[in-house]
């Protein structure tokens, strides 16, 4: 919103104030100022001149040679405007002067000398009217600088609208002036208004509010005998400077009032609208708004109608047929207060957000409607003293806001602010902002002014804001808190997430990626990845990406695909959320999952597979100090991207935590035939169900140990964990550990067998073992294995 300092100075004295500093203060105490514009500095030495002689230009049909009397002299000038006539009083830019930042120099125009320039309103920046010369009233001495009676010089600042959303009172200059007066500690002048009580005896306007849900109050007044068509120049300058286009006196006045008081107003042509019905439509209908667009209006949108048909969309825009025109002499003036939420929703449905609706959305003060009419009347009478009010002020107050009283004491303010703001200062600030303050030493009770009471200020904490922002946050002394210290135990799952990222990137050289929480359906289709149906977003931006993912793997495979051309050997991981379907209560079963993928053109598929298995094993061990186990897992085989054979479930102490698999060859072929892709997914929330083990320290024997390698012949299908299970049945105090050192299959071996060489470490804590003892133990072990069908090779 653009704010004019000249306009502000109508309401509070700005003499001697550094405007730049004031605007900076405004940013820090009220709302952010985005830009400051210095207006009128680009206009210099433009004076009142009278055309005293006009001749045709010898070389041009459009141009004229005019003589302009500027008091001290008569100047020759070439002028191209169509509306020249002898006696016209116009703004004249003298030689050496400036218009629009361009210096006026003596020039030959089509061969004739010109020693100045007659100006249009557009050239002076007053309006966008460039059709002809601006005509001035013949009341000023010739040669008077126009800046003496035109407020061309002004400081305009632009306030960020977003920072005003919660301040309905700041959508007009008067509200801004109140803030500035409080910041400057200078008084705010009352608004000058016309008294409408003197028209009490005149007839009321036929006004009925038929739908009271969407409106607080509706005030209106009829005024006739309006003869003036053009608004005063300074009003037009202000409108232009504040971003509105001057049109005619009545339209300008409604806009001026809106910019001044923040109250949107609408002027109906009284000949076309004589009665007001505020209601919604029984049936959806088309309505022609004054911007010439035929719009569909539904039955939820509040309309202003006369006794027959709609004449305006309430709070948004008037209709074309009831609009004031150049001929209008009599108006029905509306000043109403419509419900914020319903106006906003209507504007959204219509796709039509206007200056008026933007203001109503902020929850305006209903107490403004009558003063706005009275102010309008005062300004209209100032310009056109002959107007006649033809109705009494007609007013329908449907709903009222409660008066808000707030009590608090200085101790509350001290505690909330952490600094000492004096009671006098508190009282001064609140009074300046329009609060009615009753004070008993350090105890306060305040009445919130109506313009702050619609939603903005309701509780004690709101009062703190008023006090502190005017006090100035820059003036706060800064203090640390004085709380007792408590050691904080961090959440282990978050710490583990952190550790896992460091391990995977630091130790296993993988790269962390982030992907979206929804499936990229198109990419999945391209790769032939079929995902399970899952909970969907109902208002997704791209219809195809509306399914929340139930696993991270397809996202990672997509990334493998995107990088396949440039990365021959990649390892990626993501820790992210998925929704694994819905829980019984209908809410998403949100899980935190770790997805990992290795994709290599350098390693073989088998190497890649075992590498990832190793990573999974080490990773789990690193955070839990427990090795995971791998098992045949059927459910994962239903994913069409999982290899039919090469996949395994991962469990930790019998808690299933995830799986890993080779990419299904069909999808691999679509992705890149040469790429060997293996992936794993671990549910970190499941992983956290298993408590980590402490590292167990064991005394190291002072005596030498003996290691014995045994090559065993086992069934090909026998898994290592089964073999290890058999050996663990062997109870022996001296067998410290055993581990595989070699596994091979060979045709020389008996059919269906493989060779597994294990190393057994024997040691005693208190002596050196005799070789005879060792052989006895080995024999015992072999006997046990034999009972399981395992022979020494």
């Amino acid at each position: 919103m653009l704010i004019s300092m000249n306009w502000i100075s109508d309401f509070t004295d700005l003499r001697g104030v550094n405007l730049r500093e004031l605007i900076n203060r405004f940013t820090l105490s009220v709302a952010e100022v985005e830009e400051i514009y210095e207006k009128g500095k680009d206009i210099k030495d433009v004076v009142v001149g009278k055309l005293v002689e006009i001749k045709d230009h010898p070389n041009s049909k459009k141009l004229h040679l005019v003589k302009v009397d500027i008091g001290s002299e008569v100047v020759d000038c070439v002028c191209g405007a169509p509306n020249v006539f002898v006696g016209a009083v116009v703004p004249f830019a003298k030689l050496g002067g400036m218009v629009g930042g361009i210096e006026i120099k003596e020039a030959l125009i089509a061969g004739e000398p010109s020693k100045g320039m007659c100006c249009s309103e557009k050239e002076l920046g007053i309006s966008d009217d460039g059709s002809g010369l601006m005509l001035l009233e013949d009341i000023y001495p010739l040669g008077t600088d126009i800046k003496e009676f035109m407020q061309l010089e002004d400081t305009i600042f632009e306030v960020d609208n977003k920072s005003l959303t919660n301040r309905p009172d700041l959508w007009g200059h008067y509200g801004i002036a109140r803030e500035i007066a409080a910041l400057n500690k200078r008084p705010l002048k009352p608004l000058e208004v016309a008294d409408t009580s003197i028209y009490k005896e005149l007839p009321q306007i036929d006004l009925k509010v038929e739908n009271s849900g969407k409106i607080f109050c509706y005030s209106c007044l009829s005024i006739g005998s309006i003869t003036k068509k053009k608004s005063p120049v300074n009003m037009r300058i202000r409108l232009t400077y504040c971003g509105m286009r001057p049109i005619n006196l009545l339209a300008d006045l409604t806009n001026y009032l809106m910019l001044e008081m923040g109250q949107p107003m609408h002027a109906f042509d009284n000949d076309k609208v004589s009665a007001i019905r505020v209601r919604t439509l029984a049936e959806p209908a088309k309505f022609l708004t004054l911007d010439g667009v035929l719009r569909d209006v539904d039955t939820d949108t509040l309309m202003i109608c006369d006794d027959k048909e709609p004449v305006a969309i309430a709070g948004i825009m008037g209709g074309e047929l009831s609009e004031i025109t150049e001929q209008t002499e009599s108006v029905l003036l509306e000043s109403a207060n419509f419900d914020a939420a319903s106006t906003r929703r209507s504007a959204v449905r219509l796709g039509l957000r206007t200056e008026a609706s933007a203001r109503y959305e902020k929850t305006l003060d209903p107490e403004l409607t009558v003063p706005a009419i009275e102010r309008f009347l005062k300004l209209l009478k100032d310009t056109d003293p002959g107007v006649k009010v033809t109705s009494s002020l007609t007013d329908c107050y449907v709903k009222r806001y409660d008066t808000i009283n707030i009590s608090f004491d200085k101790a509350y303010v001290d505690r909330y602010t952490g600094i000492d703001i004096s009671s006098d200062s508190i009282e001064e600030t609140l009074t300046a902002l329009g609060f009615k303050v009753s004070r008993n030493k350090d105890e306060f009770t305040v009445i919130v002014p109506s313009w702050r009471a619609t939603k903005d200020v309701t509780i004690k904490a709101d009062i703190i804001e008023e006090i502190t922002r005017v006090y100035g946050y820059d003036n706060f002394s800064l203090n640390s808190t004085m709380n007792l210290l408590t050691p904080v135990r961090q959440n282990i799952d978050r710490e583990n997430e952190y550790n896992i990222k460091k391990l995977l990137s630091g130790r296993y050289c993988m790269n962390e990626v982030h992907s979206y929480i929804w499936y990229e359906t198109r990419l999945n289709k391209e790769l032939g990845i079929i995902t399970e149906p899952n909970v969907r977003i109902i208002n997704s931006l791209t219809a195809e990406n509306d399914t929340i993912r139930s696993t991270i793997i397809p996202s990672l495979l997509g990334f493998v695909y995107k990088n396949a051309d440039t990365e021959p050997d990649m390892g990626m991981f993501e820790i992210g959320r998925v929704a694994d379907g819905l829980k019984e209560d209908g809410l998403c079963n949100e899980r935190k999952r770790l997805g990992m993928v290795l994709a290599s053109k350098i390693m073989s598929e088998e190497e890649t597979y075992y590498k990832l298995k190793e990573i999974v094993e080490q990773l789990v061990f690193s955070v839990k100090n427990i090795y995971p186990s791998f098992y045949e897992r059927e459910d994962i085989k239903s994913y069409n991207y999982v290899h039919p054979v090469n996949s395994a479930g991962i469990s930790l102490q019998n808690v299933p935590v995830g799986y890993f698999a080779v990419l299904n060859p069909r999808i691999r072929n679509r992705l890149d035939k040469k790429l060997n892709v293996v992936f794993a997914e671990i549910d970190l929330m499941e992983l956290e169900k298993v408590a980590a083990k402490e590292a167990a320290y064991r005394e190291v024997s002072k005596y030498p140990g003996i290691s014995v390698d045994l090559s065993l012949l086992t069934d090909k299908q026998l898994r290592y964990d089964a073999l290890a299970g058999y050996i663990s049945e062997f109870k022996c105090d001296y067998l410290q550990e055993f581990y595989p050192v070699d596994v091979f299959e060979d045709e020389k071996l008996p059919a269906g067998k493989k060779s597994v060489t294990l190393r057994f470490e024997f040691v005693s804590m208190d002596r050196t073992l005799e070789s005879s003892e060792i052989s006895a133990m080995v024999d015992e072990l072999l006997a046990l294995l034999k009972s399981k069908g395992i022979e020494l090779r």
């Binding site: 301040r167 909970v535 977003i537």
Partner: protein, 340 residues
């Protein structure tokens, strides 16, 4: 004689050789039977008796130094199988692959570490939330525009994707609060948020935020500003100037927008800060009494502050990333650059 010895000391110290042959030449010149030092020994007998001791010691030292220097010169050629003098350290013959964390993970952990040092609990909330946590418990009015479909992703089961990390406030208050007398609840909760908007170089529908709060019996605006300054000084690793402006958010009262001195121009004014010298960095404020009540904390007894920080934006500032789409691109050429 003494001067001669001194000169030789300097000379020996500066000796260099490019090959073993040169080393041998040096040995012959200085340390052979007819070398400079041996010759010097011959002259020794002419030294007056009373100075013999002093000069003798010096000469021994010189011989020692020459031998030592020669040994050093030899060693540089003694490396296994390397004929060249010295290794080329600017060469990367055997690159060791490096893994990387996501830039947002790096920035997130950096900030979490700062807060851990200040005694904050790091917490996390879900990404799929409900209306109560995202809006109602944060004092959003029923008709607040933020609930509109154009801002929030709604799911078909009635849940929604959280639009801000503040969604965790209520849960955290209920889990950790109210604080014991004299203590304060201090929590930091990073998270991924979602907004229903079109993606371009500066807009993402998926981004990270980080929210912090502190609740106690006497937590004040003065404390809030103090903590923000401490935090930002740590984050940017230098003293930062901050300013607070009123800002409106339903869950704080008063609410602020906190600006910092532009990190690009230092406050002089530049295109990044739109010539104002200030960058809008984080929204913060005193937790609204209604929000405390809904979190089971008595607003008459406790006060607190909360603040939010756009992690994605901070990462963009830190690494000078111009296109926000990098973060979810999975583009390894880009992501591999974030080595710390």
């Amino acid at each position: 004689m003494r001067e001669k010895i001194e000169t030789l000391f300097t000379e020996i110290e500066r000796l260099t050789a490019n090959s073993l042959e040169e080393v041998e030449a040096i040995r012959i010149k200085y340390l052979s039977k007819k070398g400079i030092i041996a010759t010097l020994m011959d002259e020794f007998r002419h030294v007056p008796a009373d100075r013999k001791r002093e000069v003798g010691m010096k000469m021994n030292a010189l011989k020692q130094a020459a031998t030592e220097r020669l040994q050093q010169l030899k060693e540089q050629f003694a490396q296994n199988g390397t004929a060249q003098a010295g290794n080329d350290l600017s060469r990367t013959a055997y690159p060791v692959a490096l893994g990387t964390r996501h830039p947002l993970s790096i920035v997130r952990e950096e900030i979490c570490d700062i807060f851990k040092r200040l005694g904050f609990t790091i917490a996390e909330g879900p990404e799929v939330e409900d209306d109560w946590h995202v809006f109602s418990s944060l004092n959003f009015a029923d008709d607040h525009p933020a609930r509109d479909m154009q801002d929030t992703f709604y799911l078909e089961n009635g849940q929604l994707l959280k639009t801000h990390t503040s969604a965790a406030q209520n849960t955290i208050m209920r889990k950790y609060g109210p604080p014991k007398p004299g203590h304060a609840l201090k929590a930091l909760f990073p998270g991924r948020c979602f907004r229903n908007e079109n993606i371009d170089a500066s807009h993402e529908n998926t981004f990270f935020q980080l929210e912090g709060m502190m609740i106690g019996e006497n937590i004040s605006i003065s404390n809030l500003i103090y903590f923000m300054k401490v935090l930002l000084t740590e984050v940017f690793e230098r003293e930062v100037k901050v300013r607070l402006r009123p800002g409106f958010f339903p869950f704080v009262e008063p609410g602020f927008e906190l600006d910092i001195n532009c990190v690009i121009c230092g406050g002089e004014g530049c295109p990044t800060c739109k010539h104002s010298g200030w960058l809008e960095l984080l929204p913060c404020g005193m937790i609204h009494p209604n929000v405390l009540s809904m979190g089971g904390i008595d607003p008459e007894k406790y006060t607190g502050f909360a603040f939010g920080l756009g992690l994605t934006r901070l990462a963009m500032m830190k690494y000078n990333i111009r296109d926000i789409r990098l973060f979810n691109s999975g583009n390894l050429k880009q992501l591999k650059q974030f080595t710390r």
